[in-house]
Symmetry: C2
DNA sequence: ACTGTGACTGTAAACGCTTGCAGACTGCGT
DNA sequence: ACGCAGTCTGCAAGCGTTTACAGTCACAGT
């Protein structure tokens, strides 16, 4: 099963066999055919590790995400996987479980055996990122750092639209439920604050919460205590958690409180009321990231470009509606 | 950054450096320390491809799943990732998007650069699986084939429990919404049929449907046309799709129709009514699969064991309730 | 006839690490 | 004093490819 056997059987040198697999046009038709049949008869396939060693590239890409089972990460990963395979690369995946130390360790480990690395919402410190970037080409999703290419989603405007939407519905008090610290949260928060102050809305903030359903459930009671008529949640999962808990406490959405999420995951369409949410083109981001990364891999210059920005948009569904006259409180809740 | 530089700086041979990293106890303390400091000063880390080539093992595992972004796959993948990393392996992930050809191609591609491969609900033909098993150790999830180790979930009983549950609630006509063909669907179907005939229930079947929300939405109308009072869906996503569409048509769940799902994904708790579903221990399955696989990797004998079976259980929530006297039909639907 | 050109092919030196084997040394028992 | 076992270490031959370089050959141009 080694190249030598094939060479022997085809009556050529190993170099020729190698060329048949790496630059077929450089070898005479007749020879190529002989080699191919020999290879097939022996079920030969080039050994990736040997090839990687000799060429200095692995034809592998890596992605590290905060949480493999999170819907947003999963969609990104899926798109990345597709695009990577399409380009002839296999994909390593590592989840950090939101733990900075694991994230860095995973990234470093992968860095050695990939041609490029994709970091989704990395939480590690700047210098760790720069150190990584020295080892292998990297591109980031949802993080901004000078000198490292990234694809970002421009949430600022869409977040503003969400707030405007609430304002237009008569809401005047609104709370933002923060997610894990990081770029993604910052940009939402900035958009939220600016829009609120521009519109003269009373804005408050709670959190940070883990980007999960249960955290949203917990958040709901804090929301009620905060006397607001509207909630902007870090992501759909938190938003759905809030809605669920509010329903359990007899608070109607959107009758009593309006709720907005982020991401527009599949979930948003599945729950009732269907979730008003800011759509983030996750799949597109994944695809774009791979393209950017491969540009980098193939020639080290692409990093100079400014980060690629994708735009988000508010998707209005049924979890937002006209504000009640007075904000509901725990007292409204059914027993 | 190669082993030679480190060896030179530490004043030892490359063999010693290598040993420091692979069998530290075989090298004298003093020497080991010298090597370690030299390595650190040079930021040295062993080159994985070179090591893989020399040792014949990569310390990589691979998993191929039908759909990376599917919640069930994602949970399995997450568990596998955790466990693999814990054991010192990195993980390749490939999604087949449910197309057999891609599945096989991905699997073959990965097979060459991993020490072992995990196939989740593989759809490729038996002989393709056996061919793969010849290339590298593999273990399957949700598929049974003589000679290939697998971890399965014993859904037969739990499916029976689901049907019994419906029967006890007074349901006499029930439809099963089939998922994609394969082991997973077969075992549900078998459990469903047997339980229905045992209990004397009128059983029908629809499908197959893709294992997705939208397919469930589509299925709902077929369900209504089928005049049943209860539905057992292939998975939670389909179930939720059904519930949603029924709600849109003014049919209450569980007031008019009861719905049971499979998997107990996070989704089941997030929707309303909360979904009655058969819990499949996805994370546990992933972990178990990795352990089985690593047994295989470390000594080729573990394959002889019979498949490891995990047990599933019915989780009763709010999407099932007492049967109406007569099954609802499209006529009941609100305009 | 001779040279230059192009198209193929082969030779052999990497790529960076692992490991069987053997040598060097130490300390011990006799 | 000698041999033996045990502990470390180094030598060097791989592991399976790739690729720079050089060689061969056919053919066209002069």
């Amino acid at each position: 099963m080694s190249i030598r056997k094939v060479a022997a059987r085809a009556g050529v040198s190993t170099a020729t066999v190698s060329r048949v697999f790496t630059q077929p046009q450089a070898v005479a038709d007749e020879t190529r055919r002989r080699v191919m049949t020999a290879a097939e008869e022996l079920h030969y396939a080039p050994h990736p590790a040997a090839s990687a060693l000799a060429r200095g590239r692995t034809c592998n890409l890596g992605i590290v995400v905060p949480d493999v089972s999170n819907s947003f990460s999963a969609v990104v990963t899926k798109a990345v996987d597709r695009q990577a395979r399409r380009e002839g690369y296999a994909l390593f995946v590592a989840g950090s479980d939101e733990v900075v130390h694991d994230e860095e360790a995973s990234a470093r480990a992968l860095a050695q055996q990939v041609d490029g690395l994709l970091l989704v919402s990395p939480r590690m410190p700047d210098d760790a990122l720069l150190a990584l970037a020295d080892m292998t080409p990297i591109v980031m999703l949802n993080r901004l750092l000078d000198g490292i290419p990234a694809v970002l989603t421009n949430l600022y405007e869409a977040t503003g639209h969400a707030v405007e939407h609430l304002h237009a519905l008569g809401h005047r008090t609104v709370v933002y439920l923060a997610g894990p610290d990081g770029y993604a949260n910052d940009v939402r928060l900035r958009g939220f604050r600016d829009a609120c102050s521009r519109l003269g809305m009373e804005a408050s903030e709670l959190g940070p919460f883990a980007a999960r359903f249960q955290a949203g459930v917990r958040a709901a009671d804090l929301v009620l205590a905060a006397s607001v008529t509207a909630v902007v949640a870090y992501n759909d999962e938190i938003a759905v958690g809030v809605v669920n808990r509010l329903a359990d406490r007899g608070i109607g959405v959107p009758a009593d409180i309006s709720v907005v999420g982020f991401d527009d995951t599949e979930l948003a369409e599945m729950v009732s009321p269907r979730l008003t949410t800011v759509r983030i083109p996750a799949a597109m981001a994944g695809t774009a990231a791979v393209e950017l990364l491969l540009d980098l891999v193939r020639s080290r210059d692409a990093g100079l470009r400014s980060p690629r920005e994708l735009s988000a948009e508010l998707v209005v569904r049924s979890s937002t509606g006209p504000a009640r006259v007075a904000p509901p409180t725990g007292q409204d809740a059914a027993p």
